[in-house]
Amino acid sequence: MHINHLFINQKLDKFGIGLYRYSNNYLLEKNITVLESYLPLIFMVVFGFVVALIFLILSEWLGARRSTAGKKTTYESGMEPVGTARERFSIKFYMVAVSFIVFDIEVVFMYPWAVQMSQLGLTAFISMMVFIIILLAGLYYEIKKGGLKWD
């Protein structure tokens, strides 16, 4: 909180519109903590799912029910289904998933740095550039070794 106040004053001068006080004001004006300000988010997630559930229930309740054996078969362009869909599929999808996990964690790692960048200064900037170089080296290696090749 203390550091935040220092931060506010700097930003006030820069933009002249009090945007950081604004953020604090929101919490002060409602007299809530930061965590409490997240409550509406949780509410909205629950609400969204409730609405979706209502849609689901309505569709199952209102819809016609004239089921026949033919309707219940898996659709395969009008042919008799061959085997099941529970089969092995291309390793490429796994490669993409693994690469995603690696890179996504690194992206998430950049978010706090990006938000606080102007406060963290040159050391953090150089560290992040080194990090990015390592990241790019990894990407280059993966591409060159054919880890992301689709054919």
């Binding site: 609405v51 289904p81 869909a85 992206v107 960048m117």
Partner: protein, 344 residues
């Protein structure tokens, strides 16, 4: 505690309005898509139900509700039901942090246009929710126990996670400039014509392309690719369950447009002084209209692109994501960082 209670009541009331807004926006987008595509293809499009066919989407919704819900015997019922709920639920939940206008002040209390536009994690929340929505499509593909669905679901999840990276990275450039994750603050910083798109042109282009891929719109609609996958992940869905995916897709398109407007085009900020006092209802309504106009522009842009640009091949799609957009997004971060370090 009572403050918390009031906040939740306020959120509840707003949520009802917003859900109505989203669903009607999705329905109108569907109508717009059909009309625009008809204009582009020199057809008429829906024009029978109501004036200019305006009531067509409502008729569609009613039709979908009363359609038979056919589920194949081999499907995994639990997940088959869960998948559309995730898709639509997330599409609605995302709107929690979107500010539609600034605020109105009644009796000294400020009522913000949006459920929680001021939370300090707004942008992160949207990205998190976007990642969750992958589950809806993947589960739909898997639980149908149909080969087309499975491939559609797999393609979709691979595509969405690939473009999520460049999407997240392109936003970092904006975050470095704004120094906040709260959407209302990002909008407030873009007063006048100080839109972020002018300082982040590269980031904007990457973000725009990625959001096309994230919303599974052409030219990135491979998960649904009708000619090869007969509809992809939603092959085995019918009735309103199919409608839920449909609604979610259009709601996501609206979200993406709103997000682009908020982050890059100044959101609800009116670039000129119109002489209305802060907090007045009139100003808020003008802001809302201004915001909506920009969002509609982008929705039309999405539609226009869909009916103009052909679909990618899958390897081209993945190459674009991993070998072009991802390095470009990183380059954007480096350029922005160096710029801030030198001139900031």
């Amino acid at each position: 505690m009572p403050e918390i209670g009031w906040i939740l009541v306020e959120a509840g009331v707003k949520a009802v309005f917003i859900v109505i807004l989203i669903l009607s926006a999705a329905a109108v987008s569907v109508y717009a898509e059909r009309r625009v595509s008809a204009i582009i293809q020199l057809r008429l499009g829906p024009n029978r139900v109501g004036p200019f066919g305006l009531l067509q989407p409502i008729a569609d919704v009613f039709k979908l509700f009363w359609k038979e819900d056919v589920v194949p015997k081999a499907a995994d019922m639990g997940f088959h039901r869960l998948a559309p709920v995730i898709s639509l639920g997330i599409a609605i939940a995302v709107y929690a942090v979107i500010p539609f206008a600034h605020y109105i002040e009644i009796g000294g209390t400020k009522y913000y246009f949006g459920i929680a536009p001021n939370v300090n994690i707004g942008l992160l929340y949207i990205l998190a929710m976007t990642s969750v929505s992958v589950y809806g499509i993947t589960l739909a593909g898997w639980s149908s126990n149909n080969k087309y669905s499975l491939f559609g679901g797999l393609r979709s999840s691979a595509q969405m996670i690939s473009y999520e990276l460049s999407m997240g990275l392109s936003l970092i450039g904006v975050l470095m400039i704004t120094g906040t994750l709260s959407l209302n603050e990002i909008v407030l910083q873009q007063s006048g014509w100080g839109w972020n798109v002018f300082v982040q042109p590269l980031g904007f282009i990457i973000f725009l392309v990625s959001s096309f891929a994230e919303t599974n719109r052409t030219p990135f609609d491979l998960p649904e690719a009708e000619p090869e996958l007969v509809g992809g992940f939603n092959t085995e869905y019918s009735g309103m369950k199919f409608g839920m995916f449909f609604l979610a897709e259009y709601a996501n398109m609206a979200t993406a447009s709103a997000f682009i407007v908020l982050v890059y085009f100044g959101g609800w900020q009116i670039p000129f002084d119109i002489g209305l006092g802060a907090g007045s209802i009139a100003l808020a309504l003008v802001q809302f209209a201004w915001f909506l106009a920009k969002v509609i522009f982008f929705i039309l842009f999405f539609i226009w692109v869909r009916w103009t640009v052909p679909r990618f091949r899958y390897d081209q799609l993945m190459n674009l994501g991993w070998k072009v957009l991802l390095p470009l997004a990183i380059l954007n971060i480096v350029i922005t960082g160096v710029w801030i370090m030198i001139f900031g």
